[in-house]
Amino acid sequence: MEATIWEVFIQSKNGLAHKHVGNVHAEDKEMALQNARDLYTRRNEGSCIWVVKSEHIVSSVPEDEESFFDPSNDKVYRHPTFYKMPDGSKHI
């Protein structure tokens, strides 16, 4: 079957961000949603699904890697690492 590829994002719980889980083939958006449901939420993984046509995702390319990401490497002052963390604070 000649079909469009759609990227699938699943929200595992209300309030959490949707996470990319993979892609599916489908002819239209309803079918994309159903296929995503069948492929990626069979074991109770989600509470919401997004599907987006893969062609609509704009991605940086490997050649951009240096200019995009390296400059932040050597600027320690951009990272909040000089604070003392209070005891008991978690997930920071």
């Binding site: 079957m1 599916v24 079918m31 069948d38």
Partner: protein
């Protein structure tokens, strides 16, 4: 066998045999996604059959759910004949599923009101699954009916061929009447009006022509089946019959 046991076996067998038929698509679907979709539906139906057979087994007290599934012969099965027909091409399977899904949806909605609490609870659980199945099948009916000339011709032919198996949904025999009177069962006759309406809604969107109600197949309530059930059972029951003490 008591009346209620036989009544539940009819639903259980319909879900079990349809599940077995659909499972034949596993690894042969038109695409990976659709292969999984059909297998998922098959597994949902197997779950429904399992719940119902467990209940019959509990009422009976002697026969286990597995024995119901694997140790009965053709004439002791009460599934609708529509579940037995061969999968054919994808459009044939979709039409069969579409016609049954609408029936199941309406049937379970009524069964939910049963005074038998277990049946009512099983109906509620199944209804969620069936709603999804119907969404899947009716979308495909529209897509294929309103698709290319070839897909339209093929699925119209599927519809015309399978239509004669839908009469059984709405029959009322003595047992149905008795179960209805005891407020356990469903009035199948009254389902027909809503079934027609829901079928028409999708057929119009799919630009398909609804076949006339003509000769209808019948017999499953008495254990009479098409020749295809024997073949299904021989495959489904082979292992437990050949190796009676086989364990997983």
């Amino acid at each position: 066998m008591t009346d209620i046991e036989k009544y539940i076996l009819r639903i259980a067998d319909t879900t079990l045999i349809l599940s077995q038929r659909l499972s034949e698509w596993c690894s042969k679907g038109p695409s990976l996604e659709e292969d999984i979709a059909l297998s998922n539906i098959s597994l949902d139906l197997l779950g429904q059959a399992n719940g119902l057979l467990e209940y019959v087994s509990k009422l009976n007290g002697e026969i286990s759910p597995d024995e119901y599934a694997f140790k009965r012969d053709e004439r002791e099965f009460y599934n609708f004949q529509i579940c037995e027909i061969e999968n054919g091409h994808f459009g044939d399977t979709i039409i069969r599923q579409f016609l049954i899904d609408i029936y199941f949806k309406l049937y379970y909605q009524e069964l939910e009101k049963s005074k038998d609490e277990t049946l009512s609870a099983l109906a509620t659980k199944s209804l969620k699954e069936v709603s999804y199945h119907l969404r899947h099948s009716s979308n495909w009916v529209i897509r294929l009916g309103d698709g290319t000339q070839e897909s339209k011709d093929k699925i119209q032919k599927s519809l015309n061929n399978i239509w004669k198996y839908t009469g059984e949904f709405f029959e009322m025999d003595e047992l149905d009447k008795k179960m209805l009177k005891e407020k356990i069962g469903v009035n199948n006759k009254t389902l027909k009006k809503d079934w027609d309406k829901l079928v028409d809604e999708t057929l119009i969107k799919a630009k398909l022509k609804r076949p006339e109600d003509g000769y209808m197949m019948t017999g499953s309530r008495k254990g009479i089946h098409t020749e295809m059930l024997g073949k299904i059972l021989s495959e489904m029951q082979y292992l437990p019959r050949a190796y009676p003490d086989a364990k997983w």
